[in-house]
């Protein structure tokens, strides 16, 4: 079997694709990962979560490899990094709290946490209390350092396992700072689309092309088609697709 496995945040999840839902089965199957999968004969596995952090994305790639990867199948991983002010939290197993989203292999206890999130999205007071203090433990420079290390780690891991992969940014470019520059210099720019360039992030690229965005900065079907076209060009260069 051929699988396109997509990892990411709300943009990969297709949030608001239908104009209504932050997360729905239709959105998950018909965003840019689904468009690319259909065009090239892949089964889609969409492991994304609205609000998902780069920490979540890194973990979910490792989780897929250690839990679901089958050596006899053919995979193309699309890893779509998100913005920095985010981390992953988790509700206690014994609590009634859940964060329900649609996607493959979802875990309702995993909570995406972003600086400045509306408190009503959280079901546990302990998480809500953290909102006021989140800039203290989500430092953006540290996040840039961590992001570069996660990219490098996955790049080496997937290369060693001979798994086809392609990375892009949806929300913001990867900052180049003193703390991460030695790692950034080792990133494979063939398999990570212009990581430092704002104009090559999904949001900025589609806004430059005058695609209409929703009030929560998401895009409809035409935007996803355009982003899929852009990724497809690079996938062709790598000979991942015909």
């Amino acid at each position: 079997m051929k699988y396109l496995v997509a990892f990411g945040c709300s943009h990969t999840n297709g949030s608001m694709l239908d104009g209504v839902n932050g997360s729905s089965e239709y959105n998950v199957r018909n965003g840019f990962p689904g468009i690319l999968a259909k065009r090239h004969g892949y089964e889609l596995i969409n492991i994304s979560k609205p609000g998902g952090s780069n920490q979540y994305i890194h973990r979910s790639v490792v989780e897929f490899l250690t839990h679901y990867h089958n050596k006899n199948d053919d995979y193309l991983f699309l890893i779509n990094w998100t913005s920095r002010p985010r981390m992953e939290l988790r509700y206690h197993e014994d609590s009634n709290c859940a964060h329900v989203t649609v996607g493959d292999y979802t875990d309702k206890k995993s909570v995406p946490f972003t600086i400045g999130t509306n408190a009503s999205l959280f079901a546990d007071k302990s998480v809500i209390k953290l909102l006021s203090y989140s800039p203290y433990f989500i430092n953006l420079d540290v996040q840039a350092e961590r992001w570069a290390c996660w990219v490098y780690g996955l790049q080496q891991l997937l290369q060693a396992k001979n798994i086809k992969y392609f990375m892009s940014n949806t929300c913001e470019p990867l900052p180049q700072i003193a703390e991460n520059i030695s790692v950034v210099n080792q990133l494979n720019l063939q398999t990570y689309m212009e990581p430092f360039d704002t104009q090559n992030c999904m949001i900025e690229f589609l806004m430059d092309q005058n695609f209409e965005k929703t009030s929560c900065w998401h895009f409809r079907k035409d935007g996803h088609e355009a982003w899929a076209d852009k990724l497809e060009l690079r996938l062709r260069k790598l000979r991942y697709v015909e």
């Binding site: 490792v62 250690t66 953290l130 433990f137």
Partner: protein, 196 residues
């Protein structure tokens, strides 16, 4: 050959990695640091690997999972659930959310993920290495089981058992020289000796 040691304050300076390097007749490079956390150790190892090191044996002492790096009014340190005497009492408000910040399943998943990635990179680069826990273990349950099963146990001393960590081993042995005893223990465990 150089033994390059990563870890926390328990393994810094003339501690067990230093003695292990002597036993192995390797030069010693100390990359450990005070008040670090596992996320920082992961980044330190990645940065070191980006320098394409040669002729190195990498020793990684993972620290407690209950450490979160914070930047409180430009002071960087790790926040811990068992510490209350911070320089600014305001930091203690975070304790209300310790159950969320240090969810043992999620901490275990992240910790195992990063250990797994490093193991795979080190193996692919043909760099000999050994990992151990300095003071606790990775939480084992059905949500962490498959991550843990993927770790190479031959090169990571019993990550699931707190009593197998350096701190508990040396306390149990009631050692007069715990650093030397742990170095001896690691010497017996690691298979990479005399360049083989």
């Amino acid at each position: 050959m150089k033994l390059v040691s990563f870890g926390d304050e328990l393994v810094k300076g003339k501690a067990s990695p230093y003695f292990l390097a002597q036993m192995l007749k390797f030069d010693f490079v100390d990359m450990s640091s005070d008040d670090t956390c596992n996320q920082q150790i992961f980044r330190d190892v990645i940065k070191f690997l980006c320098e394409e090191p040669r002729d190195v044996f990498i020793l990684i002492g993972w620290t407690s999972g209950n450490r979160l790096e914070i930047n409180w009014n430009n002071k960087k340190f790790t926040y811990r659930p068992d510490v209350h005497d911070y320089y600014d009492n305001g930091i203690n408000v975070l304790h209300d959310s310790d159950n969320i910040l240090f969810n043992d399943i999620l901490v275990g998943q992240h910790r195992a993920s990063e250990a797994y990635v490093l193991q795979e990179i080190l193996t692919s680069k043909d760099i000999p290495y050994y990992m151990y826990n300095t003071q606790d273990c990775i939480h084992f349950n059905e949500k962490t089981y498959l991550y843990l099963r993927s770790l190479n146990g031959k090169n990571y001393h019993n990550p699931l058992n707190k009593e197998s960590s350096m701190k508990y081993f040396t306390q149990r042995e009631e050692s007069k020289n715990p650093d030397l005893d742990w170095a001896n223990f690691l010497y017996d465990k690691i298979s990479y000796k005399d360049g083989k």
